[in-house]
């Protein structure tokens, strides 16, 4: 009869996981993730923060589909600096992986992203929105109000805001397609075909295809010269007017969305994905890390970031099981923004907007 460990390993628990009763303090190089276990819960396993398999590499690319479209929009339409965005995303990836020990997703805030693209917003207003939303979720998490607020806010409010934003964003896309109708329709059809394959990173393929088509037909700007070197984010201090503008347009629609999708549902999905392992993913911690991440990223030119249920499901679906996938994502972004420097990141600007 297989032992309990063998049984659990068959249920997709990493080989490095150990019974909680076997863990000894001080023997782990990386301290175990502190989580209080309820007395009536089944025995859980202390999981290692790091594991190595090809699935970690594949899983680290699992959320590119949700990451790239918003980032490309922020760089090409809003005019944000790629260095600030990618550095802060990379840091948030690494810190989330270190803290949670699972392939925790870090994504652009979608509702705020939609508002940022629809409304005329500048990098200062986005920094202002990041500071306000960061302070809000940090406060909500630290006081424990986040769980109560999630219960009080009706789901229909978030649904109504999402639907309105989604339709506005889709309409913006249609307007951009109008500028080069045949190319936009062709790219949309190409993406629809790619969507038949669930594991295909559709956005990534479409962006590369868009750049190639734009260059071949001469309708995109010239490719930049790559200059290698280290570049650091520039400080962005928003004015009071920019803070108000960012709060009105980006923060308000994002709060119910983050509360539901990025905090409550993410915590629930994490419990489903890692049911027998100890990890610190809960509503309160997710609110605190979202708040801290945005508060620190906003003045460094970072974009609005949160965790996401779809993202963590995507990482796990593509094979990630530990924080290694997050470090690989952080490394990829760090190499992109620092080693290849800003000129390389201007490649994002090569993507014709009507694609």
């Amino acid at each position: 009869m297989p032992s309990e460990i063998e049984q659990l390993e068959k249920e997709d628990i990493p080989r490095s996981a150990r019974l909680i009763t076997e863990a000894r303090r001080g023997r782990l190089r990386i301290p175990a993730i502190p989580v209080r276990q309820e007395a009536d819960e089944a025995p859980k396993f202390i999981r290692s923060r790091f594991g190595w398999s090809i699935g970690e590499v594949s899983g680290s690319l699992g959320d590119l589909g949700t990451f790239l479209p918003h980032i490309v929009g922020a760089i090409t339409i809003v005019g944000m600096e790629p260095t600030g965005i990618l550095t802060t995303f990379g840091l948030f990836y690494a810190l989330s992986g270190a803290f949670y020990g699972v392939p925790m997703a870090v994504q652009p805030m979608k509702a705020a992203s939609a508002a940022v693209l629809i409304e005329p917003m500048d990098p200062g207003a986005i920094a202002g929105a990041g500071l306000v939303i960061g302070a809000f979720f940090l406060l909500m998490g630290m006081t424990g109000v986040v769980s109560r607020l999630a219960r009080v806010l009706p789901g229909t409010i978030a649904a109504g805001l999402q639907l309105g934003l989604g339709l506005s964003l889709a309409a913006l896309g249609v307007h951009l397609i109008e500028k080069q109708l045949w190319l936009g329709v062709a790219m949309a059809a190409f993406m629809l075909v790619l969507m038949r394959y669930p594991r295909m990173p559709v956005a990534l393929v479409a962006i590369v295809a868009g750049i190639i088509v734009g260059q071949l037909l001469g309708i995109g700007p010239l490719l930049p010269v790559l200059d290698f070197g280290w570049h650091f984010p520039q400080l962005v201090i928003p004015s009071w007017a920019q803070i108000v503008h960012g709060t009105q347009n980006a923060v308000l629609p994002q709060i119910p969305f983050t509360l539901t999708n990025a905090i409550i549902v993410t915590a629930a999905v994490s419990r489903q994905l890692f049911p027998k392992e100890l990890h610190p993913v809960n509503e309160r911690n997710l609110a605190i890390t979202t708040g801290l991440g945005n508060l620190l990223a906003a003045p460094c030119g970072g974009y609005l970031m949160c965790h996401g249920a779809g993202g963590i499901a995507g990482h796990v679906r593509f094979g990630a099981r530990t924080a290694t996938a997050r470090y690989l994502s952080a490394l990829r972004l760090s190499l992109s923004e620092s080693v290849l420097a800003q000129a390389a990141m201007r490649c994002f600007g090569q993507f014709p907007t009507r694609c």
């Binding site: 409010i157 649904a159 309105g164 989604g166 339709l167 964003l169 896309g173 397609i177 308000l252």
Partner: protein, 57 residues
């Protein structure tokens, strides 16, 4: 365009009761026509009014 459609699709609640669908569509209409603040300001009191039975759709 696809991001917007995906965002709109994810707005579908698990089950609609009473005036939930009305409220979602009203908020979307206000959000598209005016802005998100107005949609929130309209939607929140209306959601509670529907929940408590003060309004019936």
């Amino acid at each position: 365009m696809f991001s917007g459609l995906e965002l709109a699709l994810s707005s579908k609640p698990q089950d609609y009761r009473n005036g939930d669908l009305f409220l979602v569509l009203l908020m979307a209409a206000v959000g598209v026509a005016l802005n998100r603040v107005a949609a929130f300001a309209v939607g929140l009191p209306l959601a509670y009014a529907l929940k408590r039975g003060w309004i019936r759709i």
